[in-house]
Symmetry: C2
């Protein structure tokens, strides 16, 4: 049994089910994938509904929030005692300001329903591990207590704006904090930019860092009242595993966003769970996406070599971690001040060139964002067809052949067993094909969608990153006026131009990093996709060839 | 431009278009196949409509029937002068009592809209060739003047009942005409039944007759006022072509039905054209189906060796044909009297065995009828998906890849032409696949559908053929009572039993003929279907393999 959280209108012919907010439905198949589950309404109609639109409940009981305040009830979740494990309860999110319009969608094609919680909620309970399982609700994997992360979600562009408002050097003064800074802090790690074959490039390490996210384990605290999932992360440099919970990833994300967000697009972590999900599948999916996020961060030469990122991957013990955390939180080279550590080896660029580059990147990322979203939309449709109507049709074809075979067997005519056996085999072959068709998207389309989804997230960061550069360019353009009104000294104007040039080198290095990763990622995912597609069609052809060989016209 | 003849409600998601009787639509694609055409309504919506629901008009002009009475207008049809050939006009059938409910459907899954015209219309104008093009309407290929054929159509069982009513020996007296006949006409050709491996079998000729129906040609009469299509039929025994029009086939059908219908199911000819159709496609389809019908008749040892069938295939000249026609029409060994020519070599069967066989065949043909209809329904659905939503989706996938390639090309980053070329090629491959998917049903599903459609027609004849046998069994069961009331002599009862046994042998021979043909036909059509399916999937796999090879991760 499950309750519908938002109105959802089925698209005709897509095997979808129209549901209304508050309606109760029965889950008939939770292994559809692609963000869909199959449900049946009270009229017996069966169809697909986005899984985020549905909240799974235990036995239809509406546990009220207050009824959950008793510790004994909490112990029913995540209890290490298996006898208590079956009694899960999923309550609706008491905090979300969700509407049907903004309800979540697989691959986040709509906005995220979770509203921005406001900066006031930030850092609350940070050192309180209690937050992994909110005391006010029955999330299996809520981990949403550190509500700093609540402000992010599907629509990344929006969330980035919110995040930028928090930049110490940005919301108050914009890029001028960097452009007009009298003296940079000394002794900071410098970020050189070299001139490579493709233009400005970051300094890349000799061997690329990588890590493996694996082995999610349930942990519990407070005598089982409190539970969480801990992932094991093994970096390639130390090969020594460390453990982290989702909220630690989220902390890392916040630090990276604060520190590098003006220069480097830092993609969001995989979405938090907002409503009931099927536990195992959810954990697997989250792990896969955390792996994707970590791999991307590891691949970035600036991010991967940063102190905070290394702390996350290689802390030695709890004390080391706590100390490193405090140090990272006190880091003042954040926001636009990251540019103060950047040192391009090439001569300064003039403002026109800086502006041209900026506009070019802006156009490209916008165009690619559109292209990626188109693939996601088309892939989404295709997923539905392949898991819904198409296999049903192949199954019916298979059944029709087998039925005819049964009829033929009843003829009483001698010597037609070759035909009836062949017809039965052909029918079974089409049933096999039905199953193959339904399972194929998980083998190929899934990865195409995941890669494009990742790029959608990454591209969503660019408007804000580029926005910082545009604001800097505008500021430099104003410099003459500022000099005329004696707001800055003539020398300051020269400094501003040089610093805008530095920012441009950083952006170019970042774009070149983006392009080389993009080329690798799309080559790789297309290879994988087409390889699996080839296998799929070849297997079908082989099965049909086998079925064909059984018929004979003597 | 075309006018909608019947209401049609689109099934959601099947790429269909809902249309209302009297609505005007624009034909956007007439090459869909499977009995569908693509049309656009006045609101710009495009979708599939059964082609029989639509009447194509010339330039939206409503020629009134009276306006067609001028000979000059008639000369616009079928004119041997090519300059006049483009000015076709299609008027609605002025005689049909069509309703939306009974509107025609591809593969005749609904009833035929043409109502039974009543026996009064029969034989009118028979020797008048004028009827090929009705003077009251603008049929391209009406040929419906010989309205004896009008009483047949989609629902064969119904039409057979009507036909049986016309049997000289049946409608008046049922099978007793044969069962109680004092003396059979002498010197008739005898039809022996032998005992083969599978039981009673007809006498099969050493070499099987076959014929080729080809080369449809337009002919015209009355200075172009009157036109028709003539087909060339070349039988394998003489290898000398003869020409026949549809109405000659229809005459042959009538003779075969009268003569053999009680013993042998004679399938209907392909449906007549009731409404506007696209000329070339229609002629091709009719020819294909006439070929199928003739092949089936040629394969039948009793039918193919009959005088009337041989006349049709091998008449020497017009005089020969006319004389043979008259002789065939005067044949008195028709209806149940056909059994008087049948001579089984095996000993008489007792009535229980006769009844068991009859019931067995009845059950089998009913079950097979259901099985065949299921395949037609499923195939019909599959046809729509393969020609509608599925290729559209592959096309969108192809376009999405190509769009992304275009975006990538605009990046300004060096050395990604390998990726962009590969992405473009992958996109084009999916566009190719889209086209392949849309065209595939014509290569394989078409033949599966045609074969099953033929069997549906054939199976539709069995209830009446079996009905004659059941009536005979009932009559023999009454024999004791008839003897007791002195209505028949005791010897007559013995005769009736013997003759029921003869009928049973005929039915068994016919069933064995049916079974052996069925086994051959289904083996053959499944071979063809699966062979084409294998080719289809292998071609897709090869195309994708080629696309795959262009991507590289170095």
């Amino acid at each position: 049994m499950a309750q519908v959280l938002y109105d959802f209108t089925a698209e005709p012919g897509n095997n979808e089910l129209t549901v209304k907010e508050g309606e109760t439905v029965t889950i008939t198949n939770q292994n559809i994938g692609g963000g869909w589950i199959e449900a049946q309404n009270s009229r017996g109609e069966v169809g697909l509904v986005p899984e985020d639109y549905i909240e799974v409940r235990e036995c239809g009981d509406d546990f009220s929030i207050s009824s959950l305040s008793h510790p004994a009830l909490f112990s029913l979740f995540w209890n290490t005692d298996p006898s208590g494990g079956s009694n899960n309860n999923w309550a609706s999110n008491p905090e979300g300001t969700q509407t049907g319009k903004n309800a979540p969608d697989p691959w986040g094609s709509h906005g995220h329903p979770q509203a921005y919680q406001g900066p006031g909620a930030e850092d609350d309970e940070w050192d309180d591990d209690w937050d992994d399982m909110k005391s006010t609700g029955g999330y299996v994997e809520s981990e949403s207590g550190d509500s700093g992360a609540m402000q992010r979600g599907g629509a990344h562009a929006t969330s980035m704006k919110i995040s930028l408002n928090k930049f110490p050097g940005f919301s108050k003064s914009g890029p001028e904090l960097y452009l007009l800074c009298k003296q940079f802090a000394k002794g900071k790690d410098k970020l050189p930019i070299y001139t490579g074959e493709v233009g400005p490039v970051w300094s890349y390490p000799e061997s690329q860092l990588d890590c493996i996210v694996a082995d999610p384990k349930k942990g519990s605290k407070m005598y089982g009242l409190k539970s969480y999932i801990e992932y094991q992360i093994t970096p390639s440099n130390t090969n020594r595993p460390v453990n982290h919970r989702y909220k630690h990833f989220d902390w890392l994300y916040e630090r990276l966003l604060d520190k590098f967000g003006s220069a480097i697009p830092i993609p969001s972590l995989p979405d938090k769970q907002v409503t009931g999900r099927f536990e195992e599948e959810f954990i697997k999916m989250r792990m896969e996406r955390l792996q994707g996020w970590m791999t991307r961060m590891c691949r970035h030469p600036v991010v991967s070599s940063s102190e905070v990122f290394q702390l996350f991957l290689t802390y030695k013990d709890e004390k080391d971690w706590k100390m490193g955390k405090r140090k990272a939180e006190k880091d003042e080279t954040v926001g636009v001040m990251i540019f103060s550590t950047i040192e391009p080896e090439a001569p300064d660029l003039d403002l026109i060139e800086v502006e041209q580059k900026c506009d070019q990147f802006s156009r490209f990322t916008k165009a690619m964002d559109d292209g990626v979203k188109e693939i996601l939309t088309v892939g989404h449709e295709h997923w539905k067809r392949c898991t819904g109507p198409l296999p049903k049709e192949y199954q019916r074809i298979g059944k029709a052949f087998q039925n005819l075979s049964t009829v033929f067997t009843s003829s009483g005519y001698q010597g037609e067993s070759t035909l009836t056996d062949a017809l039965t085999a052909a029918g079974k072959t089409y049933e096999d094909i039905a199953q193959m068709v339904a399972e194929q998207p998980k083998k190929d389309l899934h990865f195409l969608m995941e890669t494009n989804n990742e790029y959608k997230g990454l591209l969503g960061c660019f408007p804000d990153t580029i926005g910082v550069h545009k604001a800097a360019i505008d500021k430099v353009k104003e410099a003459d006026k500022l000099v005329a009104t004696s707001k800055i000294a003539p020398q300051d104007k020269v400094t501003m131009g040089k610093r805008a040039s530095t920012m441009s080198y950083a952006l170019q290095a970042e774009m070149n990093h983006f392009h080389s990763n993009r080329i690798y990622d799309y080559n790789r995912v297309m290879q994988l996709y087409l390889e699996e597609q080839v296998k799929f069609y070849e297997t079908i052809a082989a099965k049909l060839r086998q079925a064909h060989s059984q018929f004979t016209t003597m």
